[in-house]
């Protein structure tokens, strides 16, 4: 039974259709990578899963329950957490407060919250060094780490990360992918939207989107190696 399953999802903005029937599934514990050119509809897919965008038709099921009609807050409660495109940290609040707010839906359990924050600081030592700095004054890469860390604070079962590597130096991007791999090894299922095909190195499953449809999906080392994904992705 997959953790997340989309079936023929259609949606768009206003009356403009963007997703023309997307179907895919992700298994519990997998790290999936979604590639696609600009405007392919990757972010739109992520927003539909997170509930920022209503679906027009089709279904989204998570842990065997339909979540397509729930609002964002309820989905976060269930464990679906999106780290949005463009970082979107709270600029005038400190690193610690940004993280604390990420744990909003789990704020009652102070002890678990503290432990998760320590965990985030382990993944991203840079954040620990800067815990009292205002998020808006951090470098782009640091803000990206913070955005991922804030997502982790909600204790997600499914973490959606939209273009975390945007604007990162190639080496930093690789480090980030490795950290995400580590996170997924703790049992968190991850979907990473990427422009950087280097993310495929850590992927268990891959998707390629084009013009609002899924043109490729495959899983397992064998299949991902056998298909020349980079070529497919680059067209």
């Amino acid at each position: 039974m997959p953790l997340l399953e989309l079936t023929d999802v259609r949606t768009g903005y206003g009356s403009l259709p963007v997703l023309h029937g997307i179907s895919f599934a992700v298994e519990q514990g997998e790290l999936a990578v979604m590639l696609g050119l600009n405007g392919a509809g990757k972010s739109t897919t992520m927003m539909a899963i997170a509930g920022l965008l209503k679906t027009w038709s089709g279904s989204i099921s998570f842990e065997d329950a339909s979540v397509g009609r729930l609002d964002t807050a309820k989905r976060v409660q269930r464990g679906i957490v999106l780290v949005p495109e463009g970082r979107r940290v709270f600029p005038a609040l400190s690193v610690t407060v940004n993280l604390r707010l990420g744990a909003w839906v789990r704020r009652r359990d102070r002890k678990a919250l503290k432990e998760r924050m320590e965990k985030v600081f382990e993944y991203f030592p840079r954040l620990a060094e800067r815990r009292n700095q205002l998020a808006g004054t951090m470098s782009g890469g640091e803000q990206q780490m913070l955005a991922v860390g804030r997502g982790l604070m909600a204790d997600p079962k499914l973490l959606l990360i939209d273009e975390a590597s945007l604007g990162l130096a190639p080496k930093t991007a690789q480090e980030l992918f490795q950290t995400v791999k580590q996170i997924s090894k703790t049992g968190v299922t991850v979907i990473m939207v990427e422009q950087n095909a280097g993310a495929l190195d850590v992927a268990d499953r891959a998707f390629i989107m084009e013009k609002g449809t899924l043109i490729f999906q495959g899983a397992g080392d064998e299949e991902l190696k056998a298909t020349d994904l980079r070529a497919a992705y680059l067209g």
């Binding site: 709270f90 005038a92 609040l93 604390r100 909600a154």
Partner: protein, 290 residues
């Protein structure tokens, strides 16, 4: 002159309270709330009716009046702000002015054009501060405001709810994604702003005559100036801005003389401070979101 200074500080604290409400709504909805001072006037009339007409004890009258205005604030958000959630901010701006006008008209219809008065919460002879006799009511105002100021400082820097309010104003999308419902936050912000206005109203009520729209006429402009001087998005800035404006007004009254209803010359000085701050520090005295 000392007298004007001491009174200026106390008036300033009231402006600070209103300004804090203005900043809160501005942070939450990116709009200047023309109805902020009317939250105070309406609460003052609630208190008048409860205390003078229903003969409730003072504290009960004030508490119920504040509760009443909280409900008004909540309804304003539900009925007017929320339907305009995605509308251009100018539309919402005009809508808040509409709320103020409606509230003032209702006061004319219900209470009429005559001024009424509430006795002070605390009687007795005043206390001597810097050789100025300050009435117990004014001391009470000041005390409440200091406590509120500290309380809000704590609320907005330490509590989850307070921090979530700040987050909503900085990054609505990320706030939504953290599972903090931005619509519920909007309810909270408007209710809280109404309560701040209401507290200013019931504290101010016994110090002068109550007539429809009195706080909009005498306090909205100074409060707005205080908010801008403080940096429009800074809560502590608004509070400090309020004190600064109050003191400026006090000095203005000292040098130019005062009239109770229209503080013409003194307000000119307030305006001068506003222009000066905008010229020298356009981001306001505090100048950062907090």
């Amino acid at each position: 002159m000392k007298q004007f200074l001491v009174l200026g500080v106390i008036n300033g604290a009231v402006y600070g309270l209103l300004a804090t409400g203005l900043v809160l709504v501005y942070k939450g909805a990116r709009v200047f709330n023309f109805a902020q001072a009317e939250f105070g006037t309406v609460a003052a009339f609630f208190a008048y009716w409860l205390i003078e007409k229903q003969h409730l004890p003072y504290w009960a009258g004030d508490l119920l009046a504040i509760l009443g205005i909280a409900i008004v604030g909540f309804l304003v958000e539900r009925l007017i702000v929320r339907p305009l959630f995605t509308a251009p901010r100018v539309t919402l701006l005009v809508a808040t002015a509409g709320v103020a006008l409606v509230l003032i008209q209702l006061q004319f219809i219900i209470v009429g054009a005559n001024a009424v008065q509430i006795g002070p919460a605390l009687r007795g002879i005043g206390v001597n501060i810097l050789d100025v006799v300050v009435s117990p009511q004014r001391l009470l105002i000041f005390g409440v405001l200091v406590i509120l100021g500290l309380g809000m400082g704590y609320f907005f820097s330490r509590t989850d709810l307070g921090l979530a309010v700040l987050a909503t104003s900085q990054e609505p999308v990320a706030t939504e994604l953290a599972g903090i419902g931005t619509r519920r936050m909007s309810s909270f912000i408007w209710t809280f702003a109404a309560v701040l206005g209401g507290i200013a109203g019931v504290l101010l009520a016994p110090t002068g005559a109550l007539f429809p729209g009195f706080m909009t006429i005498t306090d909205l402009l100074p409060a707005f100036t205080a908010a801008v001087v403080g940096g429009i998005t800074s809560l502590p800035g608004a509070f400090l801005g309020g004190l600064l404006i109050g003191i400026t007004q006090g000095l203005g009254e000292f040098y130019f003389g005062s009239s109770t209803i229209v503080r013409g010359a003194a307000n000119l000085l307030v305006f001068a401070v506003l222009v000066l701050v905008l010229l020298v520090r356009p981001k306001g005295l505090i100048g950062r979101e907090a």
